[in-house]
């Protein structure tokens, strides 16, 4: 056991699995010699060589498109997109090819690619280093979307992704890359994709979130606890496939739901959670289903702290649903 950050857990997962599976190839911009702009792939090129850890030309389309080809041929590539904000040139390859290959070929051409990309705000990155585009991918059938919030989950989910036959968008919450610390076992282990976690149990209100918002919600829950409200926090971990049972179980248990996501409000992933609870657990609800979200604007630089959901705003929503 060692105490690690999320970044270290990413590195450990890659190193561990690359030793076990020689079909894994890591590729992306600055991932080799530099070890990645966040050092996520630090030391990997030294251990596994330039053929398995590749510095590519500046082209997201090329990175993802080549990865698809490698996967068709039988490798398991793990491409990195340096910031999720820059994934858009590759969007065509992801949506039209990666997500649809298995389906369109009648199962003949599975496409096991694990795309790693840091997402989200909180690092003073402005418009182009802070975006949360998980909904674009959740809205594309054929892709799995995984977002961890702890080092333990990071390593386990990343290894699970590298063992998955389907394409996985592994989105890393870069705001807590270094601040989230926790115990991580040595060697290979997996955390199942498609299963939520409950880092805090409670009885009065369910708060649903993922990624960088988990510490924010835990903070709000702690504050609420001090005021006599028992809050349960559910960490979704997988957006696709979603652990619907866990979501509904919690909503039915407490009867009050607050959904938190930092992405722009309209059509954010939490809107789906809200719809699911409304469809399947409406009669158990004691209050309207509330969302605490980013605004429908590009991600602002100076007003970043106001834009992102903070413990205060989450607590305000908890207070609101408790008032019914």
């Amino acid at each position: 056991m060692a105490v690690m950050t999320i970044l270290q857990a990413v590195n450990d997962a890659l190193r561990t699995e690359m030793r076990l599976n020689d079909k894994i190839v890591v590729l992306g911009e600055d991932v080799g010699k530099l070890g990645g702009v966040f050092r996520a792939t630090d030391g990997l090129q030294k251990e596994f060589g330039e053929e398995r850890v590749v510095d590519t030309p500046l082209s997201e389309t090329g990175i993802i498109g080549s990865a698809i080809g490698m996967a068709l041929y039988g490798l398991h590539p793990v491409p990195e997109i340096q910031f999720m904000d820059f994934i858009y040139p590759a969007f065509d390859q992801i949506v039209n090819e990666l997500a649809k290959f298995r389906y369109r070929s009648g199962g003949q051409y599975p496409c096991p690619v694990t795309i790693r990309t840091p997402y989200g705000g909180g690092i003073r990155g402005g418009h182009y280093h802070s975006q949360s585009g998980e909904t674009h991918f959740a809205h594309t059938p054929g892709l799995k979307v995984v977002i961890p919030s702890t080092p333990y989950d990071t390593k386990g989910l990343l290894i699970a992704s590298m063992r998955d036959e389907d394409p996985v968008m592994f989105m890393e919450p870069k705001r807590i890359y270094r601040s989230a610390k926790g115990e991580v076992p040595e060697g290979a282990y997996t955390v199942p994709i498609g299963k939520a976690a409950v880092p805090r149990e409670g009885t009065d209100v369910s708060v649903f979130a993922y990624g960088s918002m988990i510490p924010v919600c835990l903070e709000a829950a702690k504050h609420a606890d001090g005021k006599g409200t028992s809050v349960e926090v559910v960490d979704l971990r997988s957006l696709v496939p979603l652990d619907i049972k866990a979501v509904l179980a919690s909503a039915e248990k407490t009867g009050r739901a607050v959904i938190v996501y930092e992405a722009p409000r309209t059509c954010g992933y939490g809107a789906e959670i809200s719809a699911l609870i409304a469809e399947h657990a409406m009669l158990s609800m004691k209050a309207p289903i509330m969302r605490v979200t980013g605004f429908d604007t590009p991600f602002p630089y100076a007003l970043e702290d106001l834009y992102m959901p903070n413990p205060d705003r989450v607590y305000r929503a908890i207070e609101h649903v408790m008032s019914f």
Binding site: D55, L58, S59, F86, G126, Y128, P298, A302, L303, R316
Partner: protein, 366 residues
């Protein structure tokens, strides 16, 4: 098989020899404008790095070592022309007349920033001088410039679009799309590649297998040439040639300016991890200011006291700008939902109102 020559423009060599056949027509006044801008730029950037280290600005990405390539090329433009920058051309911004205050207001995210504090430092723009607002995305400005230059030719505006990008950008999809379109439609666009040998840590040789970057223009049916990016006179000459050609309606040109990124990619980068000091020092010796001094001495125009005076003026200018920015306040919370659309949508209005209510709620608890 056909052989094509990619010519290389150089006026002042590294050891100070001046090729009078390639010398561009510049008055003494113009030469000193160029020289002074380089001094202002170098002074400015040194102070910005300090500001970042001391936490007074959050981030900086500079052009140390490659000052000439943007400054000299922008100088070839006229008022009605447009600049489409990447994010590493403050020399071009200064030549176009953007003040240091304007830059610092943006770097410090103040209420006086044209962009209202919305973007991280070095992502500025100023419509008044046709300097298009920067985004972080590499190369996205290239198709914009192709379209702009195309429109300029269609409307017979006598204007030209000049777009900057690096060596890494030539691998992107936007490069291909932009240049191909410009070639087909004979857009009045100059494609200016600042080949500073690095895309963060990835060296030029790993970017593409072609011998030069300039030759990629041939794939789009137009001319490509190279210039010594450390020689501001070569830069100016190459730019003037391409800009004049576009203005005459003869279509686009690509210029590959050979230079070097002496500094890091940005204040978040540590280049010692991927390149040697020896290489950096070699290029440091190809100093852009020193190259101009060779020319000044050649012309008998160099004066040490004038040099010192210009440096002092520059320091004062930077200091004034920093002070102005540090005294301007932050942007108001009300700007959050503005400018997404021309008018706020009903859903946005709800969010705006909810934000106001939240701030009241927070105040009440305090």
């Amino acid at each position: 098989m056909t052989t094509q020559e990619i010519r290389m423009v150089q006026v002042v060599s590294e050891d100070g020899r001046v090729d009078e056949a390639q010398e561009p027509k510049l008055t003494k006044q113009q030469v000193f404008t160029l020289y002074q801008t380089l001094i202002r730029l170098r002074t400015f950037e040194a102070r910005m790095m300090n500001l970042q280290r001391s936490g007074r600005i959050g981030f900086y990405g500079g052009s140390v070592g490659q000052e000439a390539t943007a400054t000299g090329s922008a100088f070839a433009l006229e008022k009605q022309d447009w600049v489409f920058p990447q994010y590493r051309e403050p020399g071009a911004a200064l030549i176009r007349g953007i003040s240091m205050e304007t830059l610092l207001y943006q770097f410090m995210s103040t209420a006086k920033d044209i962009g209202k504090g919305r973007q991280m430092p070095v992502h500025y723009g100023d419509r008044a001088v046709n300097y298009v607002t920067i985004s972080s995305v590499v190369a996205s400005q290239i198709p914009h410039a192709a379209g702009g230059g195309w429109a300029m030719r269609l409307r017979k505006d006598n204007a030209v679009a000049l777009v900057y990008f690096g060596d890494g950008a030539t691998s992107t999809v936007d490069f291909h799309a932009g240049l191909n379109l410009a070639g087909v439609f004979k857009a009045a666009t100059v494609f200016w590649c600042n080949n500073n040998q690095f895309a963060i840590s990835v060296p030029r040789e790993k970017q593409t297998a072609s011998k030069t970057l300039a030759e990629k223009a041939l794939a789009y049916g137009f001319e490509g040439l190279q210039c010594d990016g450390q020689d501001i006179f070569a830069v100016y000459a190459a730019a003037k040639y391409a800009v004049d050609k576009a203005r005459r309606g003869e279509g686009p040109t690509m210029v590959e300016s050979l230079t070097y990124r002496v500094g890091p990619h940005s204040s978040s980068d540590d280049p010692t991890r991927y390149r040697s000091d020896v290489e950096v020092d070699t290029w440091r010796k190809r100093d852009t200011l020193e190259r101009v001094r060779h020319y000044l001495r050649h012309k008998g125009w160099y004066d040490e006291s004038e040099d010192a005076r210009l440096h002092k003026l520059a320091e004062e200018e930077v200091t004034r700008a920093i002070e102005a920015a540090e005294h301007a306040g932050p942007p108001s919370w009300e700007t959050m939902l503005e400018d997404v659309f021309a008018e706020m949508t009903p859903l946005q209005q709800m969010q705006h109102d909810d934000l106001a209510a939240y701030l009241k709620w927070k105040e009440a608890r305090a």
